[in-house]
């Protein structure tokens, strides 16, 4: 088990290295030098060269990358923005919790509902519950998350006064108001992934229920709930994999949802950074999301190794 954890963690680290190098190279390949963006079109060649020398931009990309990596890994320092001179760690710690909260609540909602719905729909195949779950699965994956968001804003905040049409009320200003302000964003965030995970749970459980060992377990006299519990344990493996991937992807959707509801999370930081062509900040935000994505996948992998030790033995 320990070998497996180390192997998987090692690979995650390797993939973060590769991906961050690609990200770094891509952000350094934009046609305009950041010096030109900061200093404006009137800047002379000398000023540009001076700026690049001051910020180490005249060094080879690989050297810049290693310096950046060293600061990030050894000091947890994302560096300073070239354009605003603001400390990027501060900007990330200010905006990340908001996005993280939305995604975590949305994820828990999606996971809970889809596990229950997917299980019921597999157990009661071709019942009304099953049809409802399958319809939800097809519709849910086909609707871009921000469209129901727009329609919900129309229906529930403009027509009726149930929820605020946007904005984020921090927890400090009252729990009820806080929950009211994040209810719709979380719901919109979870619908797509609820559909994906419901479908996965249903098909995976159906496959397991059809296996011979399930019939054997019943024949050996195990009670129905107990057999189901064993079945679920096996059926969960692909669900956990997809859930891990979904958690990472939800941050992407959260960017759009935050914009619809006018919430100042990471999306505002990222989109403002893009507008100002502040590519150091863009890089920092993307790197944060990528780290979260890789860690979520790693956790899903390890969870699966625990759920199904045979898989783990084969991989190790």
């Amino acid at each position: 088990m320990l070998v497996l954890i180390l192997r998987r963690a090692g690979f995650s680290l390797f993939s973060l290295l590769v991906v961050s190098l690609i990200l770094f190279a891509l952000t350094r390949s934009i046609p305009d030098s950041p010096a030109r963006i900061v200093l404006g079109d009137e800047a002379t060649e000398e000023q540009i060269a001076q700026f690049e020398a001051d910020h180490g931009l005249d060094r080879p990309v690989l050297v810049q990358y290693l310096a950046w990596l060293e600061r990030l890994v050894l000091h947890g320092d994302l560096g300073r923005s070239f354009t605003t001179r603001l400390d990027m760690n501060a900007q990330v710690t200010e905006t990340l919790p908001v996005t993280l909260e939305l995604v975590c609540i949305g994820f828990v909602v999606a996971l809970t509902i889809s596990l229950v719905l997917g299980t019921l729909s597999a157990l009661w195949r071709d019942s009304p519950v099953d049809y409802a779950a399958r319809l939800l699965a097809v519709l849910g994956v086909s609707i871009p998350g921000f469209w129901p968001a727009l329609v919900l804003v129309l229906a529930l905040t403009v027509e009726r006064d149930w929820f605020p049409p946007g904005g984020f009320v921090p927890l400090g200003e009252g729990l009820a108001e806080h929950l009211r302000s994040i209810a719709l964003p979380c719901l919109c965030l979870s619908v797509f992934y609820m559909a994906v995970l419901t479908r996965m749970t249903r098909s995976s459980l159906l496959e397991v229920l059809g296996q011979d060992y399930m019939r054997t377990a019943r024949a050996a006299g195990l009670s129905r709930p107990r057999v189901l519990l064993y079945g679920l344990r096996n059926a969960l493996v692909p669900v956990v994999t997809i859930a891990g991937v979904s958690f990472g992807h939800m941050f992407g959707l959260a960017l759009i949802i935050e914009r619809v509801f006018n919430i100042g999370g990471m999306s505002r930081a990222l989109l403002t950074a893009i507008q100002q062509r502040d590519y150091a900040l863009v890089q920092a935000v993307v790197m944060m999301f990528t780290i979260i994505f890789v860690v979520a996948n790693l956790i899903a992998d390890l969870l699966n190794a625990w759920l199904n030790p045979r898989l783990a033995a084969r991989a190790a």
């Binding site: 690979f11 995650s12 390797f14 993939s15 973060l16 590769v18 991906v19 690609i22 990200l23 952000t27 934009i30 046609p31 305009d32 097809v138 519709l139 994956v141 086909s142 609707i143 871009p144 921000f146 469209w147 727009l150 329609v151 804003v153 129309l154 403009v158 049409p165 797509f192 992934y193 994906v196 479908r199 996965m200 098909s203 692909p238 997809i242 991937v245 979904s246 990472g248 992807h249 939800m250 941050f251 992407g252 959707l253 960017l255 759009i256 914009r259 619809v260 990222l270 989109l271 893009i274 062509r277 590519y279 863009v282 935000v285 993307v286 999301f289 990528t290 994505f293 890789v294 996948n297």
Partner: protein, 310 residues
């Protein structure tokens, strides 16, 4: 009598053909998906003739008209016909999704096929490890961020000028490569162990020819299914990126940038601005998803992994 017989025969042949078509799409749901996709292609190709108005014509007296009469989907803030814009927007969406998938296929299938066929070398290991590492990229975030920092501009390639969305096509296509390569690799690796490959080798056929003419066709089923689902994903991503203002640029209509405009009219109650473009996206994505699911049931029933967007 003979007339009835021929008629009956023709009818039966017709039914048989219909049944074969339905089966080819993987059942009635897949067939519905195929019909939606086909209808969209027709809309996109013949937009010039199908759209009742010019999608770009500004007419201030017709501002924000409710649906009805001359404008079945209403008009927008500049008095442009929403129906015509929704029809024209199908071009941008399908072009971005389609070209991205083609780029992904061209690179992904080449890499996956050669790594899977010429096994055991360091090249196989290197390619697959790198692709696995790169699979750790959250697609939507990277698409938004990278398309964004390259700046919104028209792109000139030789004598042609392309819109800002070309960056999105390229980026999305590259982001599709790891998944498509992995899928091709898995089937190519198992196919190249098959007896027919050994037989062809004994006949003295060179490796690259076996790879292209024997192994490749047998690997394509899961790839086609995945590509169809990626078209659906591409539609959603194009809409999302255009929604935040970094994809297709106004005045060229896209469903995403129409929704972005609609966002300013939510509170004043012009519901038709947000409902119709959103419905268009959903119908399109449902079409591709149904077709993809149908194709999977028919071509590749063993791999029932859904794609995850975002």
């Amino acid at each position: 009598m003979s007339v009835t017989l021929t008629h009956d025969g023709a009818w039966r042949r017709g039914m048989d053909r219909l049944r074969r078509i339905v089966a080819a799409c993987g059942g009635p749901a897949g067939c519905l998906g195929a019909a939606i996709v086909l209808a969209l292609l027709v809309l996109a190709v013949f937009a010039t003739w199908i759209a009742p108005h010019d999608p770009l014509r500004v007419s201030l007296p017709d501002q924000l008209l409710e649906p009805g009469g001359d404008f079945p989907f209403g008009t927008d803030q500049s008095g442009r016909d929403v129906l015509s814009r929704v029809i024209w927007a199908s071009r941008a969406s399908l072009a971005v999704a389609g070209v991205a998938v083609l780029i992904g296929l061209a690179l992904g299938v080449t890499l996956g096929l050669s790594a899977g066929f010429f096994r055991g070398g360091w090249a196989e290991q290197a390619i697959m490890r790198l692709l696995d590492a790169v699979a750790a990229i959250p697609v939507l975030i990277w698409a938004i961020a990278l398309v964004g920092i390259f700046g919104i501009r028209e792109i000139e390639i030789g004598p042609f000028t392309f819109g800002n969305e070309v960056k999105l096509m390229l980026m999305l296509g590259l982001l599709y490569v790891p998944t498509l390569a992995r899928i091709t690799y898995t089937s190519a690796a198992s196919e190249s162990q098959a007896n027919y490959v050994a037989a062809r080798r004994l006949q003295g056929v060179p490796g690259w020819r076996i790879m292209l003419s024997d192994v490749l066709p047998n690997c394509l089923s899961p790839v086609i299914v995945q590509a169809t689902l990626m078209l659906a994903l591409g539609i959603i991503i194009e809409a999302s990126v255009s929604f935040v203002g970094l994809g297709v640029q106004p005045p060229t209509p896209s469903w995403g940038n129409m929704l972005a405009d609609a966002r300013n009219y939510l509170l004043s109650g012009e519901w038709w601005l947000s409902v119709f473009p959103g419905a268009a996206i959903s119908v399109t994505v449902i079409g591709f998803n149904l077709l993809g699911d149908g194709l999977r049931d028919r071509l590749d029933p063993r791999h029932a992994l859904p794609t995850v967007a975002g």
